[in-house]
């Protein structure tokens, strides 16, 4: 066994110098924690002010007023609140930002959307900005992504990934080492059900799946979004994917699985349904 161990060790050729800086990681995590605490405090204060202001301006809401609700996932213990996305697309307005500032803004916006749709849900470990953990990039688009696990107060967690894309015509972006771009990957975002099922990550045509392998629907959503809702099964893993394409050509996509780094295939379905995921991401605040 020792011989095999030694051979495996020797088979590791040409190690690259590590770019993981422990000090940078610690500094980044400290900043993230400070932002998180400040966000909670500001969010709570803003919520209190908004409620006080609304009550003062409109008076007490009448019982029985219509509320927009989203159905909870089948077999899920997730509780759903009342998201209030606008029906009119209003592109986000903000000044010039650095990548870090955009990542922080998107992180806060995502947390706000999750809190609105699924009160009490946590993102743990927190979503990490794209610039720190590279996964996939989309050529011609300013891309940010994050991944982590969403947990519910009632227990359970599901892996979640979010990609936010904004077209950047006429510009190029230099991605850090290790970030991968696949030709055809854009079809999986903008190609609706056809793109979701007929192309793999490398843009290669694949056979249509057996109907039991998944389902896909397209429909209009709030803020003028075009939604694609996909559920696919890979053995015991079930992945719920929702893509929201905005009128300005931006897009946000999320995938939630029924497993997480700490709980492989712990539940039959992802904790959040396709409708809940759609309610979270179909909001212009998530556009980079």
């Amino acid at each position: 066994m020792k011989m095999l161990q030694a051979l495996l060790d020797e088979s590791i050729v040409d190690p690259m110098p590590p770019f993981t800086s422990v000090d940078r990681l610690i500094a980044r995590e400290r900043r993230r924690r400070r932002r998180h605490r400040a966000g909670i405090a500001c969010g709570a204060a803003a919520a209190v002010l908004a409620v006080v202001g609304a009550v003062a301006f409109f008076g007490t809401p009448k019982p029985g007023a219509p509320r927009l609700t989203v159905e909870p996932a089948t077999g899920s213990t997730a509780q759903t609140a009342t998201p209030s996305p606008s029906d009119v697309f209003v592109p986000p307005s903000h000044g010039p930002e650095t990548d870090a500032e955009t990542a922080a803004r998107l992180d806060a916006a995502l947390r706000a959307r999750v809190s609105t749709v699924v009160p009490g849900a946590g993102l743990d470990p927190a979503i990490v900005p794209f610039v720190d953990v590279g996964l996939v990039t989309y050529q011609g688009y300013l891309t940010f992504s994050g991944k982590g696990a969403l947990s519910l107060p009632s227990g359970g967690d599901s892996g979640i990934e979010v990609y936010a894309l904004r077209p950047t015509p006429g510009t190029t972006r230099t991605d850090p080492p290790g970030i991968k771009s696949y030709p055809g990957i854009l079809e999986r975002v903008f190609g609706g059900c056809a793109g979701a099922f007929t192309l793999n990550a490398n843009g290669t045509p694949v056979p249509q799946p057996n109907p039991t392998d998944g389902s896909c629907t397209e429909r209009g959503g709030p803020s003028g979004t075009r939604l694609t809702l996909v559920q696919q099964r890979y053995g015991r893993q079930v992945a719920n994917t929702v893509v929201a394409v905005f009128p300005d050509g931006s897009a946000v996509t999320t995938t939630m699985t029924n497993d997480s780094p700490t709980a492989p295939a712990a539940t039959a379905l992802p904790l959040l349904s396709l409708d809940q995921l759609a309610a979270i991401i179909a909001d212009p605040s998530l556009i980079p």
């Binding site: 066994m1 495996l8 590791i12 590590p18 422990v22 990550a201 780094p261």
Partner: protein, 168 residues
């Protein structure tokens, strides 16, 4: 996490960084991905440092995060392997003609299915017991035994006998 804990974390990570990268590389055979995995692992470790340092074996805890990070990455839809009409590479076709061909061992490892590869790396590179490997991967000991036997069979077919003499 206070300054003392930061220092403790830094000291632990720096003493294990090289080893972690090597394990990650054996799992994925790509330095960029390996560094991604190590970065994810260290971030999760930092966020859970209070709980992690109380673990019975901190090294086992970190290996578990790393292995699950890799398996998790492999499950992502865009990481799935291409559909192809070509048959997969057969491990037995790779020749192993001595010390100069040690890189072939890593190639052979890459040809193993991901769970089998994880079992081989954890059992024979990290030197974990069957029980520890099973606990880390969340599978039964029987599964670990069968996966390591199959993995070794593939490696054995292409490597000199003396490498496996001690295992027989």
């Amino acid at each position: 996490v206070g300054k003392a804990e930061d220092d403790e974390y830094r000291e632990f990570v720096l003493s294990r960084l090289d080893r972690l990268r090597r394990i990650a590389y054996l799992l994925c055979r790509d330095w960029h991905t390996a560094d991604d995995l190590v970065s994810i692992t260290l971030t999760r470790l930092y966020r859970n440092w209070g709980r992690a340092r109380a673990a019975t074996s901190l090294d086992a805890y970190v290996r578990a995060i790393l292995t699950h990070a890799w398996l998790d990455e492999q499950r992502r839809p865009w990481r799935r392997e291409d559909v192809t009409d070509r048959p997969p590479d057969r491990a037995a076709e790779v020749s192993f003609s001595g010390a100069s061909d040690r890189a072939d061992l890593a190639a052979l490892l890459t040809a193993l299915p991901r769970r089998q590869r994880a079992v081989v790396v954890l059992r024979f590179y990290c030197d974990l017991s069957v029980a520890d490997t099973a606990g880390l991967l969340g599978v039964s000991e029987g599964t670990v035994k069968s996966q390591s036997a199959r993995g070794l069979e593939i490696l054995r077919a292409a490597m000199p006998d003396h490498v496996f003499g001690e295992l027989a």
